[in-house]
């Protein structure tokens, strides 16, 4: 601990006690539902004893002042801190998503999902007794992101659960579940009352949230005291994270614009008529996977990385690590032009004579960056037709030239981010094309 509140463990007693108590009640309610509505008393009893009881015990310990013992072992935390980094984080989250997707039939089983939720919440509770973890997670503006993680987990489960059910039904030639309820009801009272209840519940939630958590207010603005790290609002932190791999004109302007264009283009590119109005994966695997990759991996996990794991100087910090502003990481990234001219050809970078005109200088720049330009040309110009003749053959036939070109270019831009990440991690590659003279770095 570096300069943390000496009364830290006392200060989280009340919060942790209530936290575990709420979890216990949550499990009790679930058990009641299992027992009374579904008649599955054995599972209900297990739930009450295992999770309900377990969380009550934890709650008692926390209220009683034993928060110090309710943590993860220091050796585990040290291991996590020492072994996480952008590479492990990104590969790890991708791997988790892939595993969830491939074994979705197993993970969406209500019992499995409920146990996973409990374990995740328990892990969260145990981590909260770490001062460094607690400090970053309870920062007022970060609390919504913790909520976002659990909400996304829940809704992804719900959607996948329904999609799995529907896919089974469709395989048997039955209509999707949603079709079963096509009987019409009057909006008053059925929908109007639901809306009213939702509004009241939401108002209550907002009031509790507003009373329980103060809005942040830091020192008055000063244009001379730059905080370290300086972060954009949390929903833009995925873009700020992209700054590690791309210059601002790409990460802050071109790629976000393309995200918007790409989102708007989805209905006009997706020619698959199936899967309209019900949850399914089997009937639209391509669209589903691309969207999940873009939304969950390239948008949400980058925001989580940028919020919780990027500290001073935008260095990576483990979840239980102190944000040391003096942490120094060696940066020895190299441009593609250096790899080619210096390392491969063993000559210096081509440089125009200092008294030469603009055109001559431009010529030298083009010569210096020729490998990068060829690479980009192959990627953005040559690759779409090659894909059209191979893997996207059917797509090209169905979509026509313009729609296909738009889709393939959007996909290539989207793939440019993970590709650049991998190139950075494996080769320390900084820029493929590096023209500082014109601020044109890619």
């Amino acid at each position: 601990m570096h300069g943390h509140d000496p009364h830290f463990y006392e200060s989280i007693q009340g919060f942790l006690g209530s936290y575990y108590l709420v979890l216990s009640i949550m499990n009790a309610v679930a058990a009641l539902y299992l027992w009374r509505r579904l008649g599955r008393w054995l599972e209900a009893a297990l739930l009450v004893v295992l999770f309900g009881g377990g969380f009550v015990v934890l709650s008692g310990i926390a209220y009683g002042g034993g928060t110090r013992v309710l943590g993860l072992p220091q050796s585990f935390k040290d291991f996590v801190n020492a072994n996480t980094g952008p590479v492990i984080y990104t590969l790890g989250t991708t791997a988790v998503l892939v595993i969830f997707f491939v074994f979705r039939r197993f993970f969406t089983k209500p019992a499995v999902a409920w146990v996973s939720l409990n374990l995740a919440l328990l892990f969260m509770g145990l981590s909260m007794t770490d001062p460094n973890f607690s400090l970053i997670v309870t920062k007022p503006d970060n609390v919504p992101i913790v909520g976002l993680i659990f909400l996304l987990g829940f809704f992804t489960w719900l959607a996948t659960y329904k999609a799995v059910l529907n896919d089974d039904r469709l395989a048997q030639g039955l209509p999707p579940l949603e079709k079963e309820d096509s009987e019409k009801v009057l909006v008053w009272p059925d929908l109007v009352y639901t809306e009213l209840i939702c509004m009241i519940a939401l108002t209550a939630l907002l009031l509790v949230w507003a009373i329980g958590l103060k809005a942040p207010l830091e020192a008055p603005a000063s244009s001379v005291k730059t905080p370290n790290p300086s972060k954009a609002p949390w929903y833009f932190l995925g873009l700020q994270e992209m700054l590690v791999y791309y210059d601002p004109w790409m990460a802050g302007v071109v790629l976000p614009s393309l995200v918007l264009v790409g989102l708007m283009a989805i209905p006009f590119l997706d020619f698959n008529k199936k899967g309209n109005g019900y949850y399914t994966i089997a009937e639209r695997p391509f669209g589903y996977i691309i969207f999940q990759l873009g939304f969950l991996e390239l948008w949400i996990t980058l925001i989580i990385l940028g919020t919780f794991l990027r500290g001073p100087n935008w260095n990576f910090f483990g979840p239980y690590e102190y944000w040391d502003p003096h942490k120094v990481l060696a940066l020895n990234n190299k441009d593609l032009s250096q790899f080619f001219w210096v390392d491969l050809l063993d000559s210096g970078l081509p440089k125009a004579p200092s008294d030469s005109g603009t055109l001559v200088q431009l010529g030298y720049i083009l010569k210096r960056e020729c490998v990068g330009f060829v690479g980009l040309a192959v990627y953005f110009v040559l690759l779409p037709p090659i894909l059209a003749m191979t893997v996207f053959r059917k797509f090209f036939a169905r979509m026509g030239f313009i729609r296909y070109m738009l889709m393939s270019n959007l996909l290539l831009f989207m793939a440019a981010l993970p590709l650049k990440m991998v190139l950075r991690w494996v080769f320390n590659l900084k820029y493929i094309v590096h023209i500082d003279e014109y601020f044109l770095n890619f």
């Binding site: 919504p144 976002l148 909400l151 809704f155 719900l158 329904k162 999609a163 999707p176 949603e178 079963e180 309820d181 096509s182 009987e183 019409k184 009801v185 009057l186 909006v187 008053w188 009272p189 059925d190 639901t194 939702c198 907002l206 009031l207 507003a210 009373i211 103060k214 809005a215 207010l217 830091e218 603005a221 000063s222 244009s223 905080p227 300086s230 954009a232 609002p233 929903y235 833009f236 873009l239 700020q240 601002p248 004109w249 802050g252 302007v253 918007l260 989102l263 708007m264 209905p267 006009f268 997706d270 199936k274 899967g275 309209n276 019900y278 939304f295 023209i435 014109y438 601020f439 044109l440």
Partner: protein, 257 residues
Amino acid sequence: MSLGETIRNSQVWKSIFRHPMPLDRRNRIVVMLTNFFLHLHPVSIKKQGIALSYTWCMGGVTFFLFLVETVTGVLLMFYYRPTLEWAYHDILDLRDVTSLGILRELHRWGAHAMVITVWLHMYRVFLTGSYKPPREFNWVVGVILLLLTLLLSFSGYLLPFDQLAIWAITVGSNMARASPILGYEGPFQQLLQIGDIDMITDTSDARFVTIGERNVGEMTLNRFYVLHCIGLPLAVTLLLAIHFWRVRKDGGISGPL
């Protein structure tokens, strides 16, 4: 006659509500057609279309949060002056002195929640394939509304004018400096050069237009305040109207054909 009946039979009541209580089928239909607020809805709807497990209610929640933001936002405007001299102090007062200071918490957490719910709404609409024909255009309107939600939140982020606010906006608006062609430090900005005169300078580029001066300051505060309180809400209101209208015109809430 009971008091309730007297009121419901009075001329005033009948001039406002043009039908008896919606207790029977006929009047439950009439209420949907004659009430301004309810006429956004259809009269009847497929059971599946109101199942929470299908819709997640996220579009509705987002709209409700927009209303919460509007009401709390208007009330906050009574207490807040967007100037260098007062902005921070007024927020301090809201925290420490003003009786209704909790308005600020409601407004801020409501805004965060709205960003989250609008994403979840998009997520649900994608996962149910509800952007497919005939709802393509409404998806496009929705994407613009999502962008406007982020911009609303971003412009509001500056208003407390504390360290958190000014540096978040500085980091965000620095991106505009790197815009291709239009940014002072962006690629191709030399294209807009006439003879020796550079058209894109640090006082004429995209960043300057966004924040109104060289560094985030009082002009920025003014610009963001106007955008936050008037410009963006007006745009959102218009697009919301179109969004809701198109939900109805495109066949109501989506469902299997």
